[in-house]
């Protein structure tokens, strides 16, 4: 369980993070969204104990990042937005080094490295030098490094930057798998559609303030309290629009073309079903149906102004 409470970071007159709070449970994959300079990396670095918060706390499974940094470090895997790899070592030596500094007993290291390489699909590169790996493989090696001590929390800062579509898909799958393994994963990214695919909660940060936090649906609903349904009928769309305009929960109805009706309503799927039922009962031939829902990108653009600290 990770609990972040009023976390704040000041650099003189500049406040990089303005008292953000959220909590995550095991298995949560949290997408941390924000422009460059919004405060994502600062927040992640504070949680990873690399940066001392000006005030506030972050507690991971009972260990505070300020009071017990060593305990926190044992439970986290931090992957920054740069690789920081040693070029002159082999893949297994690199992982062995990090397993050793995480105090993994030497007798267990071989098996752990084998498992982690398998998980990240790097087994064939076990004896290759790090410098010979492609960017995607280096990214996976970084992730493998974060996993050698079986952390409870993974902090992944822009993990998909610079990767080709195939490598991105692999990484996405891997992160989802880590979530299924019960780890808390915090992923910061600019690529919003990707986050929506595998994150079960998101947070939007701008100028150090957490503007929204919750499941993707909650956040979308937060900015868009009503839903919009686009219904295609065979003929007489204006009359079809009139027939549903007085229904309970319907806010606005308009016919955009001869065969299309747009209905803005609030409520559950029950209301949606009632609207379609009414049209069919009134004799209109419904041939198509599409819900117009805002996505994460719409939410992000709606909530943020693009301003930075």
């Amino acid at each position: 369980m990770l609990e972040v409470k009023n976390l704040r970071k000041e650099y003189g007159a500049l406040t990089a993070v303005k008292g953000i709070s959220f909590s995550l449970r095991p298995g949560d994959i949290f997408g941390f969204i924000g422009s460059n300079g919004a405060g994502k990396t600062t927040t992640i670095r504070m949680i990873s104990t690399l940066l001392e918060p000006t005030s506030g706390t972050a507690v991971l499974n009972g260990a505070d990042v300020v009071a017990n940094p060593m305990d926190v470090r044992r439970m986290i895997g931090y992957m920054p937005d740069f690789f920081g790899l040693y070029d002159d070592v082999k893949v297994w030596e690199y992982l062995d080094f990090f397993a050793a500094i995480y105090r993994v007993p030497s007798g267990q290291r071989h098996d752990i490295i084998t498992n982690v390489l398998e998980l990240t699909d790097l087994t064939v590169k076990k004896d290759a030098f790090v410098q010979s790996l492609s960017r995607g493989m280096q990214q996976r090696l970084c992730l493998a490094r974060c996993l050698v001590h079986d952390p409870a929390l993974l902090l992944l800062d822009e993990p998909a930057s610079g990767l080709d579509p195939r490598a991105r898909a692999d990484l996405k799958e891997l992160i989802a798998e880590l979530g299924r393994m019960g780890k808390i994963v915090i992923v910061s990214s600019h690529i919003l559609p990707e986050l929506a695919d595998f994150c079960n909660c998101v947070g939007i940060i701008e100028r150090g303030e957490l503007l929204a936090f919750g499941t993707v649906d909650d956040v979308v609903r937060g900015i868009q309290p009503t839903r919009e349904l686009e219904i295609r009928v065979l003929f007489d769309a204006p009359n079809a629009a009139r027939s549903v305009s007085s229904m309970a929960g319907v806010h606005e109805v308009r016919s955009t073309a001869d065969d299309t009706v747009r209905v803005e309503f609030s409520g559950t799927l029950e209301v949606q079903a009632d609207i379609i039922d009414k049209l069919v009962r009134d004799g209109y031939r419904v041939v198509g149906l599409r819900e117009q829902q805002a996505d994460l990108e719409d939410v992000f653009l709606r909530l943020t102004t693009g301003a930075v600290n």
Partner: protein, 517 residues
């Protein structure tokens, strides 16, 4: 339980250190090391052969002459080794931490449960082990000197010990520079500058002590602090309270203390958010200052450890003050504050004794005065242990020191208040210290020569450390200098406070001076 944890931590840090293992693996990989060792041995053999053949051993008739020539051969070989130690050790460790910082792998290491001590000890072990390998490789060549009769095995062993102490000192110093510098190149340059200065100054003292000693092996310990005379000083000892203490033991202790202090400094740089490192560094500084002063006070009446004739009381006072002069190197870091580097360096008041072991600006003056006070107490305690009491000539130097340190503290406050950034303030204070303390050392003699002024009727009295140049002559005048500095400190401090309040107002800082005091 705590003991078991300590033993485990000790074993992991010193015997199973992952950092040193990784570095060793990389150092020994491929043919690079074999080529380096080959070149190194070839160079040593070449020097030995050239020297041996140019010494005309075959033509030497007298046994005494032959013995002298062989001793000289041994000393030359040890000097060549010393040069290699001076050249190689900084290169081995100066870029290590800075390179990790440049590679951005330092964050990865410190996001793991790794303490700076674990990491730095690992780095020291990997560099030092390599230096030892080079020393051991040279053993056959120095052994030749023993076989030929130029030295005894005990001399070689002691000389190797001394060389290894110097190697450890240079390794640690280079590591400190590597932790401080932003770029590997700067770390290498500063390491060589520091090691060069050290080698130059200690060699000056050693030359004087070693070659004026006559036939005795009793030498001041400072003679063994240079790597270039290990052959001559390896068997030397210091007479302390009637006991002959081998100088290699004293050198070893001094080097270990200095290394620990430098590693603490490096730890502060590596993990700036952790107050425990600052606390440890400052408490070590206070303890070392006190210990040095006790040692000095104890030896002040003898010709023992420092190789001096018994100084007069004014000189004791002046030298006690001078013990603390090394603090000038750390003054910019100690007293500067600013608003661009987190709240750690925000101005939080003027004088708070409880912050003496923290990096907070309000702890700077208490720390400086406590350090100075401890050296005074230490020197008096040391003297009294030898049966001497502090004389009236000693006390003007207390006033002098009080004024000196307060004045530079006030300059630091002014520099910090006039500028918003702690880094800029540090640079300005460094400039002030160089201008007033170091620059005159070059300018005054030049002026004297130009004006035809001959020592002692000189311009040194205008120097900020003027009284230190001739303590006996200045006597009570030193107190007037100190009072003057104190007065200047008050004026500068008042200006600094006025400037600070104005700055706070203009910058509209959220956590102001008054809020945190």
């Amino acid at each position: 339980m705590a003991i078991t944890a300590w033993i485990t931590e000790f074993r992991d840090t010193y015997f199973a250190n992952a950092t040193s293992r990784r570095d060793f693996r990389v150092q020994m990989r491929g043919s690079r090391s074999a080529i380096l060792f080959g070149c190194y041995l070839s160079a040593l053999v070449a020097v030995a052969t050239i020297y041996y053949s140019s010494s005309n051993f075959g033509q030497v008739q007298s046994v005494v002459e032959a013995q002298r020539a062989l001793t000289e051969f041994y000393a030359t070989m040890m000097r060549v080794l010393a040069v290699l130690v001076v050249l190689i050790t900084p290169a081995l460790s100066a870029s290590t931490v800075a390179a990790e910082r440049a590679r951005q792998s330092l964050d990865l290491i410190f996001s793991a449960p790794v303490s700076p001590r674990y990491y730095l000890v690992g780095k020291v072990i990997s560099s030092y082990r390599y230096t030892w390998m080079l020393l051991v490789l040279a053993l056959p060549i120095t052994a030749a000197a023993v076989v030929l009769g130029g030295a005894a095995w005990a001399d070689v062993l002691n000389a190797y010990l001394l060389l290894s102490f110097h190697a450890l000192l240079f390794t640690t110093f280079a590591l400190l520079m590597s932790s401080v510098a932003a770029k590997p190149v700067s770390a290498i340059v500063w390491s060589y500058v520091g090691v060069g200065f050290y080698a130059f100054f200690t060699s000056m003292f050693a030359t004087y002590s070693t070659f004026t000693r006559g036939s005795t092996d009793e030498l001041p310990v400072i003679a063994t602090l240079t790597p270039f005379f290990v052959a001559e000083t390896a068997s030397s000892y210091s007479l302390i309270n009637g006991v002959n203490v081998p100088n290699w033991i004293l050198t070893g202790l001094l080097v270990l203390a200095a290394c620990k202090f430098m590693l603490l400094g490096a730890a502060v740089r590596l993990e700036p958010g952790q107050p425990k490192h600052v606390r440890s560094l400052r408490s070590h500084a206070l303890a070392y200052g006190f210990a040095l002063a006790v040692l000095y006070g104890f030896c002040a009446g003898t010709s023992g450890l420092f190789g001096m004739t018994a100084p007069n009381p004014a000189e004791v006072g002046s030298n006690t003050f001078a013990i603390g002069l090394v603090l000038l190197l750390f003054m910019p870091g100690l007293v500067s504050y600013g608003f661009d580097d987190g709240r750690r360096h925000y101005p939080d008041g003027v004088f708070k004794f409880r912050n003496i072991l923290t990096a907070k600006p309000s702890g700077a003056l208490p720390f400086l005065l406590t350090f100075f006070g401890l050296t005074i107490v230490g020197a008096i305690a040391g003297q009294s242990a030898y049966g001497k009491a502090a004389s009236p000539e000693f006390w003007p130097w207390v006033v002098f020191g009080l004024g000196f340190w307060t004045m530079f503290w006030a300059f630091g406050r002014l520099a910090s208040s006039a500028l918003l950034g702690v880094k800029s303030a540090r640079s300005v204070l460094t400039g002030i210290i160089c201008t007033f303390v170091l620059l005159p050392i070059g300018i005054i003699p030049a002026l004297q020569t130009a004006l035809g002024i001959v020592w002692p009727n000189n311009l040194w009295m205008f120097w900020i450390l003027g009284p230190v140049t001739d303590p006996k002559k200045y006597g009570v005048t030193a107190a007037f200098y100190g009072a003057g500095y104190l007065f200047l400190a008050i004026l500068v401090f008042a200006a600094a406070e006025a400037s600070l309040k104005k700055r706070m107002l203009v910058a509209r800082l959220p956590h102001g001076y008054s809020a945190t005091t």
